[in-house]
C-alpha cells in the first residue's frame, strides 16, 4: 500500500499556504499531522493532485490561553495541547478528551485542528468543540471568517469549509466557575474509535446539586449530537437517580449499526455513558 504520486509543496508562511490552496482549487489536500490523511493516501482512497504540507508554517504552532478561551493553532500537536498546563486549568475537557484519542504515539503528530477539519463522526475533539460551543477560524485568499461548531460539522467527514479555506485555529471557551466536565467513551480496544462517546459539561450549585448541563455524543450520528440537559438534570443530585438523563440522551440519538456494534447497543451506551459522564463531571465541579 503505497501512496500514488502527487505534486508537493511545503510553504513556510500562512500567506504562502493560502495562496497555494487558492491556486490548486479542489484538487489539493492539506497535510498537517497526517495521521488520518497518510493512511488514506497509502490505501489510495485519496489521490489529490497537490499536497500542501503545512508542517513548516510555524506561526500556526501554538496553544494559547487567555482567561476564558483556549486558542489552538493548526499545527499544535494533540500531545502538546494534552500536556499544556494552562489549557488544563482553563478548559480541562480538552485533556480529558485528548487522553482518549488513539495512542500517545499518534498524538505526537496528530493535530487538534486537523482532527476537527477531518470531522470523523467518531472524533472526540468534535464533541468537545460542540459541547463547549467553540468555533474555528478559516482563512482563504478571499478573507477570513469564524464558524461556530454547530455550523462547522455538516456531515460525516464533511465540514462547511470550502476547498480553498484553511482551518487555522480552533477556540474552546474556558470553564466557568462551579462547572465540571467529563469525557466518557467505550471502544472495542484501547485507543480505537469509540463505539459511543460523550462529552459532558454540568453546572452545580453550592450544595453540589445539578443546575444545568449539556452533552455532545460521538459515533451515534453523522456529526456530534448535542443534547441540552438543563431540564432533565435541574435539581437532581449527581449521585442519585439520573434515569431521565439516560432516556433523554437515548431519545436524542439515531445511531447506525456497523460490524462492531448494533444501533440499539449504541443507543444503550449513549444513555449509560451520559449518566456516567454527568456523575463524573459533577464530581469535578464540586472539587
Amino acid at each position: 500500500m503505497k501512496p500514488p504520486p502527487f505534486g508537493y509543496s511545503r510553504p513556510e508562511s500562512l500567506d504562502d499556504a493560502v495562496r497555494l490552496l487558492a491556486e490548486s482549487g479542489s484538487d489539493a489536500k492539506v497535510l498537517a499531522g497526517g495521521q488520518s490523511l497518510v493512511p488514506l493516501l497509502s490505501m489510495r482512497l485519496a489521490a489529490p493532485r497537490q499536497l500542501i504540507d503545512i508542517n513548516r508554517v510555524v506561526e500556526l504552532a501554538y496553544v494559547r490561553t487567555d482567561e476564558d478561551t483556549v486558542h489552538v493553532g493548526a499545527l499544535a500537536r494533540q500531545a502538546d495541547v494534552e500536556h499544556d498546563a494552562s489549557t488544563a486549568v482553563v478548559q480541562p475537557l480538552l485533556r480529558q478528551a485528548l487522553r482518549l484519542v488513539a495512542h500517545p504515539t499518534i498524538r505526537n503528530r496528530g493535530t487538534v485542528v486537523g482532527s476537527l477539519a477531518h470531522a470523523d463522526p467518531a472524533s472526540e475533539l468534535t464533541a468537545v468543540l460542540a459541547v463547549l460551543g467553540g468555533a474555528v477560524r478559516l482563512v482563504s485568499a478571499r478573507g477570513d471568517r469564524t464558524v461556530p461548531a454547530d455550523q462547522f460539522f455538516v456531515g460525516p467527514l464533511s465540514t462547511s469549509a470550502t476547498a480553498d479555506e484553511l482551518v487555522v485555529e480552533a477556540s474552546f471557551p474556558g470553564r466557568p466557575p462551579r462547572t465540571g466536565s467529563a469525557f466518557v467513551e467505550i471502544s472495542r480496544r484501547h485507543g480505537d474509535y469509540a463505539i459511543c462517546g460523550v462529552a459532558v459539561c454540568v453546572a452545580v450549585d453550592e450544595d453540589g446539586v445539578l443546575r444545568g448541563g449539556k452533552a455532545a455524543l460521538i459515533s451515534v450520528g453523522p456529526t456530534p449530537v448535542v443534547v441540552e440537559l438543563g431540564e432533565v438534570v435541574a435539581g437532581a443530585h449527581p449521585g442519585g437517580d439520573l434515569s431521565d438523563v439516560h432516556h433523554a440522551v437515548c431519545a436524542a440519538v439515531s445511531p447506525e449499526a456497523d460490524i462492531h456494534a448494533s444501533a440499539e447497543y449504541r443507543r444503550q451506551l449513549a444513555g449509560v455513558l451520559a449518566v456516567r459522564a454527568v456523575r463524573e463531571a459533577a464530581q469535578q465541579a464540586a472539587a
Partner: protein
C-alpha cells in the same frame, strides 16, 4: 542445558535491528505488485494493460496467457484424500474466473513497489459479476455454485465412526441436541508473506527466500512448476515475523510467479505482501457450523455422541481436509464417549481459502465437546467438573485407541496423559469449589461473574519425519541443521540446548540452522506443534550418532576404549581425568585423513595416529568427517493435553466482558526450555482471547471483506489480554520419542472459545452457542432472552 530456562541466543541480533526478514533482503531486486479481483465471483472478460505500459520504470506485466506448461495448470492439491472428490485449487493468475475478492489476476514488475502499484492501478480488467456464495448456509443451500462443476459446493463429505452412535443415542436415558457455530478468523502474523527469487545465470540455478513454514515443500512445488530439477532449486527461510499456520500453505501464486519472473527476466524479483493483501489473498480458518446429538446416562456419562458439521473451506482447497479432519478427531478430547460418529461437509464459498491456523480445527472441536458437556451438566444439575471427570479416559487405560484415523493417516491412539491429575491441578489453581459462593456474593453487590472450564487434547509431533545433521568442524564449532523452519519458537536456542547436552560442548560453540534446503534438504515443515518433537528428536539422534563417531576416533587417538571416554566442555577425555584429553576440533581433523595440514589444528593432529595403518585410510563402512545424520519418524503422534479456566465479569449496563482470572494447566511432557514454553502459552492464550472476544472476518453478503485492516480486525493490544496468566504444569513424558517431549506451540489457543463461552454463560444464565462474542452481541442476546422470559 536441557530443561534450563536459558535466555535465547537469537535475541541479540534481533534486538539491535539486525534481523533479516524477507523484505530486508534483496535491496537490488525488482518489485512485484498484483492486480486483484474486487469481486467475490466474476468472469473476466478482458484485461487491458495499455495504460499501465506508460508508467515510468515498468519492467513487465504478466497475465494467465503468459503462463505455459505446468505454470498454466492449477496450483497443486497438496493433501489429497479419498473423500475429497471435488478438490479445486486456483491458477497462479486467474484464467477466466475469479472466486474471491483478492484473487490475483495480473502481476506487475517494476523498479519499486510504488511504481509497481502505479502500473497495477492502470490495468483495466473487465468483469461480468456473478452471484457470490458467502457463509455456510448459502453454500449448503447449493442453489448458487462457486465452481460450476462442484454440485452443492461440496468438496468432500466424510464420516468416521466408532461404534453405533445413533443406536446408543436412541436408547440412552437422556438426549440433547445443540447447534453451535464458530466464526471465521485468521493467523495474522505481524509480518505478512514475502518471497524473493534469484536466478543464477551462470549455474542456471534458482535460489528462493520465502517467509514460509516449509522450505522443502516449496522447493518441490517450484521445481515442478518451473520444470527444474530439485538439485537446481534452493529455498531458504529467512527470519520470519510469525507464521501461526498461514505460512504452511505452498506454493502461493506469488511464490510461483516471482520465481518464474526472476528466471524469465534474469533479474532478482521480490514480492512483499502488504497488510490489506494479507487479509484478502492469504488464508483464513475457523468458520464451522455444528449440530450435536448426544445421549447420556443419569450420571452424565456419554453413551453416544453424533456430530454433524459444515466446514467453510473458502474458494479453494489446496491444503485438503486437514482442518475438518482435525476437528472430527480432536473433538473427542480427553473423553471416551462409548460411541461416536462424526460427519462433515467441506463446502466452497466465494471467500479467501481456508488452511490451518494455530489450533487447526482443534478449537472448533474443543468448543463442540466442551459446550456439550456443559449442557449435559446443566440438564442433569451436575457439577461441570464432575461430569468431565466421569467421562475422562483414565491414565491406566493408556495407550487409548479412539477407533478413528487421525490427520496423519494413522490410528488415533493416545500414548500418554493423566487427565484426572490435570483436573485436580486446575480446580485447585482456580479455586473451583469456592466459586459458587463468590458468584453469590458478587450478585449481591450487583455484579455478574462467571467461571468456565475447558479441556483439550492435542496430537503433536506428527510425521512423516524430520532430520538432523550435526557436523563438528576442525575449529571445534558444532554446526547443526534441521530442515523445518522457525517463526519465533526459539529453535536456535532449544535445539542448541539438546546438542550441548548430547555432545558435552559449551552451548556457545553450537550453531543451529533451520529452514535451508542447502543444509538439510529432507524435511516436512513447521506446523501442528511438531518442531520440538520431530526436529528435537532427530537432532538428538544425529548428535548421538556424531558422538558415537567422536568416541570411536578419540578412543583410537587416546588408546582407550570408547566406553572409558567422556566429553566435557568440548574436550574428549578418559573418565576421571577431565584435564587431559583432546579437543573436539582435533578429533574432527583426525576423522578426515588428508595429505594437507591447512592450519595449526590440522598440523597438531599429526601427533596422533588413527586408523589401521595396514588398511585403507577410510574404512569400508566409514566416511571421512565428524558428522552425524539421523531422522526421526514416529509411528504416530504423541498427545499433549491442557485444561484452562477463566473467570469473567460482564457489565450489566454495557455488556463489556472483563477477564478477572485466567488459569492454565498444561502437559507437554518434558520441557527443553521452560521459559520458551511459557512464552508459547502466553502467546497462545492471548491469541485465544483474541479469537473468543475480538477477532472475526466480517464478510458481507456480496463477499466483500469489511474489515480488511487492523483498524477493524481487532487484534488485541496489551490492554485487551489478561494481565496475568496462572500456569501449572504436569509432565507425562512421551514414550514415543527419545526425549520424552510433546508439542507446545498451539496449546494456549485451543480451548479459548469454549472456556469463554462457558464463563459468559455462567455469568449471564443463558446459553452461548456462537463464538466469538462482542459486547454488542452479548447485549443483543440479553435483549432476546429478556423478551422470551417476559
Amino acid at each position: 542445558m536441557f530443561g534450563q530456562p536459558i535466555v535465547r541466543r537469537e535475541d541479540p541480533r534481533l534486538l539491535v535491528g539486525e534481523g533479516a526478514y524477507l523484505d530486508d533482503l534483496g535491496q537490488d531486486a525488482l518489485a512485484a505488485a498484483f492486480v486483484r479481483s474486487p469481486y467475490a465471483h466474476a468472469r473476466i472478460t478482458d484485461i487491458d494493460v495499455s495504460a499501465a505500459l506508460e508508467v515510468d520504470d515498468l519492467v513487465a506485466i504478466y497475465t494467465y496467457d503468459d503462463l505455459a506448461g505446468p505454470l498454466a495448470d492449477p496450483l497443486p492439491l497438496l493433501i489429497p484424500h479419498p473423500t475429497l472428490t471435488h478438490g479445486r485449487t486456483a491458477h497462479a493468475l486467474a484464467r477466466d474466473e475469479v472466486n474471491h475478492v483478492g484473487e490475483a489476476i495480473a502481476m506487475v514488475i517494476a523498479h519499486d513497489r510504488y511504481l509497481a502499484e502505479d502500473a497495477a492501478e492502470r490495468i483495466v480488467v473487465s468483469y461480468e459479476p456473478l452471484p457470490a456464495v458467502v457463509g455456510v448456509a448459502a453454500a449448503r443451500d447449493g442453489s448458487i455454485l462457486v465452481h460450476n462443476d462442484v454440485p452443492g459446493n461440496l468438496a468432500a463429505r466424510m464420516v468416521q465412526e466408532n461404534g453405533d452412535a445413533a443406536a446408543a443415542i436412541a436408547a440412552a436415558p437422556h438426549r440433547l441436541t445443540l447447534d453451535l457455530q464458530v466464526e471465521r478468523s485468521a493467523s495474522t502474523p505481524l509480518e505478512p508473506r514475502g518471497v524473493l527469487a534469484r536466478w543464477d545465470t551462470e549455474s542456471r540455478r534458482l535460489r528462493i527466500w520465502s517467509s514460509t513454514q516449509t522450505t522443502t515443500g516449496l522447493r518441490a512445488a517450484i521445481a515442478a512448476k518451473l520444470q527444474l530439477d530439485l538439485a537446481d532449486v534452493e529455498v531458504i527461510a529467512p527470519d520470519i515475523g510469525g507464521g501461526f499456520g498461514v505460512k504452511i500453505n505452498h506454493p502461493w501464486p506469488e511464490e510461483v510467479l516471482v520465481a518464474f519472473a526472476a528466471r524469465t527476466l534474469q533479474r532478482p524479483v521480490k514480492f512483499t505482501e502488504d497488510r490489506r493483501e494479507h487479509f484478502i489473498a492469504s488464508a483464513h480458518e475457523r468458520g464451522q457450523l455444528h449440530r450435536v446429538e448426544v445421549g447420556y446416562d443419569d450420571d452424565g456419562r456419554m453413551l453416544g455422541l453424533s456430530v454433524r458439521f459444515w466446514h467453510d473451506n473458502g474458494a479453494y482447497i489446496p491444503y485438503g481436509l486437514i482442518v475438518p479432519i482435525v476437528t472430527s478427531t480432536q473433538l473427542l478430547g480427553p473423553y471416551r464417549p462409548e460411541s461416536y460418529r462424526v460427519e462433515f461437509d467441506s463446502l466452497y464459498t466465494n471467500t479467501v481459502m481456508v488452511t490451518p491456523y494455530r489450533g487447526a480445527g482443534r478449537p472448533q472441536g474443543c468448543f463442540v465437546m466442551e459446550r456439550t458437556l456443559d449442557a449435559i451438566a446443566r440438564e442433569r444439575s451436575l457439577d461441570r467438573v464432575e461430569v468431565r471427570r466421569r467421562n475422562f479416559i483414565q491414565p491406566e487405560e493408556m495407550p487409548y485407541d479412539q477407533g478413528l484415523i487421525f490427520q496423519d493417516g494413522r490410528p488415533l491412539i493416545y500414548d500418554s496423559g493423566n487427565y484426572p491429575a490435570a483436573m485436580d491441578l486446575l480446580t485447585k489453581l482456580v479455586g473451583w469449589s469456592d466459586f459458587d459462593s463468590y458468584r453469590e456474593q458478587a450478585r449481591a453487590e450487583g455484579r455478574q461473574v462467571g467461571i468456565g472450564i475447558a479441556c483439550y487434547v492435542e496430537g503433536t509431533g506428527v510425521g512423516p519425519y524430520e532430520g538432523g545433521h550435526v557436523q563438528i568442524e576442525t575449529s571445534g564449532r558444532v554446526k547443526v541443521a534441521t530442515g523445518l523452519t522457525t517463526q519465533g519458537q526459539g529453535h536456535e536456542t532449544v535445539f542448541a540446548q539438546i546438542v550441548a547436552d548430547e555432545l558435552g560442548v559449551p552451548i556457545d560453540s553450537v550453531q543451529i540452522v533451520t529452514g535451508d534446503t542447502r543444509r538439510m534438504p529432507y524435511s516436512v515443515g513447521t506446523f501442528a506443534s511438531r518442531a520440538a518433537v520431530m526436529s528435537g528428536s532427530a537432532i538428538a539422534l544425529a548428535a548421538r550418532a556424531a558422538r558415537e563417531k567422536i568416541m570411536r576416533v578419540a578412543a583410537e587417538a587416546l588408546e582407550a576404549s570408547p566406553d572409558d571416554l567422556d566429553i566435557d566442555d568440548g574436550l574428549v577425555h578418559v573418565k576421571g581425568s577431565p584435564g587431559a584429553g583432546i579437543p573436539l576440533g582435533t578429533v574432527a581433523v583426525l576423522s578426515n585423513p588428508l595429505r594437507y595440514a591447512f592450519d595449526e589444528a590440522s598440523k597438531a593432529a599429526t601427533q596422533f595416529a588413527v586408523g589401521d595403518q595396514e588398511g585403507p585410510p577410510v574404512a569400508d563402512d566409514d566416511e571421512p568427517g565428524l558428522e552425524g545424520r539421523d531422522f526421526y519418524s514416529p509411528t504416530r503422534a504423541t498427545f499433549a493435553c491442557g485444561m484452562h479456566a477463566a473467570i469473567v465479569e460482564t457489565d450489566p449496563e454495557t455488556a463489556e466482558i472483563h477477564i478477572l482470572r485466567y488459569c492454565v494447566v498444561h502437559d507437554c511432557g518434558v520441557l527443553i526450555n521452560p521459559r520458551i514454553v511459557e512464552g508459547q502459552i502466553h502467546g497462545g492464550v492471548a491469541q485465544g482471547v483474541a479469537g473468543a472476544l475480538y477477532e472475526r472476518m466480517a464478510y458481507d453478503d456480496h463477499g466483500q471483506l469489511q474489515n480488511a485492516s487492523f483498524m477493524d480486525f481487532l487484534m488485541p493490544y496489551a490492554t485487551e489480554v489478561p494481565s496475568q496468566i496462572e500456569i501449572d504444569h504436569l509432565e507425562t513424558p512421551s514414550p514415543l520419542n527419545p526425549l520424552g517431549i510433546k508439542g507446545a506451540g498451539e496449546a494456549g489457543v485451543i480451548p479459548s472459545a469454549a472456556v469463554f463461552a462457558a464463563a459468559i454463560e455462567d455469568a449471564e444464565g443463558f446459553p452461548i452457542s456462537r463464538m466469538p462474542i462482542s459486547p454488542s452481541e452479548l447485549f443483543e442476546l440479553r435483549q432476546q432472552h429478556r423478551k422470551v422470559s417476559r
